[in-house]
């Protein structure tokens, strides 16, 4: 599964209710869909899945606000991740 689809699937499963939809540019944290306190599980998921370690200073809520930004963040630490 492509990274975009995998991340969207994780977010829907982890944070959303059944009828909620999320796209590449849906604001997640600034819109209140995901609260910054709960974001840690997404960070752990990305680290385990893509073999990266995201330092705290890079793990600001803004960096996780859309699926597009999350993909950019993963690529910053693992440019070959797909």
């Amino acid at each position: 599964m492509a990274m975009q689809d995998l991340i969207i699937e994780y977010i829907k499963d982890e944070y959303l209710e059944e009828d909620d939809e999320v796209g590449l540019d849906t604001p997640l944290i600034s819109s209140g869909i995901v609260d910054s306190f709960s974001m840690v599980s997404l960070k752990t998921f990305l680290e385990n899945k893509y073999g990266i370690s995201i330092p705290d200073e890079k793990a600001a809520p803004e960096a996780f606000d859309t699926v597009r930004k999350i993909i950019d963040l993963v690529h910053e630490f693992n440019p070959d991740a797909e």
């Binding site: 944070y15 819109s31 209140g32 609260d35 306190f37 709960s38 840690v40 599980s41 752990t44």
Partner: protein, 415 residues
Amino acid sequence: MAYSEKVRSAYKGLIDGIRNDGLFKEERYIHSEQGVEIKVEFPAGSKPRDVLNFCANNYLGLSSHPEVIKAAHEGLDMRGYGMSSVRFICGTQDIHRELEEKLTAFLETEDTVLFASCMDANAGMFEAILTAEDVMIADRLVHASVVDGMRLCPAKHDTFKHSNMEHLEKKLQEHQDARYRMIITDGVFSMDGDMAKLDVICDLADKYDAMVMVDDSHATGFIGKQGKGTHEHCGVLGRIDAITTTLGKALGGASGGCVSGRAELVEMCRQRARPYLFSNTVAPVVVAAANKVMDIITATTERRDKLEESTKYWRAGLESAGFDLKESQTPIVPIMLYNAKLAQDMARDLFDEGVYVIGFFFPVVAKGQARIRTQISAAHEKEHLDKALEAFTKIGAKYDILGKSKDDIVAKYGL
């Protein structure tokens, strides 16, 4: 760095931002004791007016109870005003230990330690008992003070969807490699008024070898047939490892909180919890009054029984008027309005009608979930409830939301 004009104007800008976002909190000055009939000066500078209070955490109506006030006076006379010390130097009186023992007996736990507030109890407890080898798994709607306490603790943290037991089970399975697991939840959730499924949570804790921590601030004194709290209501007395709760709501409403639970966990808090070690002891006057509160609620369930009946009456009245209510079995009865401005406008109009309530909206509650939260007290009499129902019905009709579904309200006012 001096407090220069540049710094001052930066802070002014931040405050203006809060105001422009509609999040500026204003205090209302109350010119009377806490109770159902209060005198409120709002806006500041206006003549205080008589209103009915439907937004206090005064669930048992003990905040200004004559016996509690008398006990406070006696405490002041017998044990003085302040202690000028933390607990472990020279800040523990006989009455502090007496209160801890009464709380232990009431909550049916092993031991209790007092804190200056439940915020302090939550801020200090996790760090005192867990390490980086452990994991805390919290309901996503736990109180802000629990979130802060978890942030101060080096243990890993994770969350589960609100009251979703399948999701909690998945998380417990994921974290089997941690040394200790602690499931963390509120007993009664303050914004929705719903209760944690503590029976299921305790079963999952047994199955996956986890401890259970509950903040029962919005339950102690009145939830459960004897008012012991959510653990009594759910039939899990003796199975909760750590309960935090407050003296600042049903139990007299002054100040103070506690951790009550397994003897060793409580002892670790005495030895290591920083808010316990480095903040002043709860004032003798508060402790003396709280001891009386414990006597009152242990002697009779009359007040919590009345609260239960009044809550049913209030909910039935609002439902029959056509309001859209959150499901709950507690004295927290949220009236759903979804739109933030609508919640604020209705709260203002209700104040003009003599009913004091507050509108809550994002970020206090999720976006699109704005509401007026009403809270019932054992001090509310039927005539108070009827007068408030009349006011709510009048204002509900003004905004044309009576009998309307969520979709209707959202279609009219937006999210």
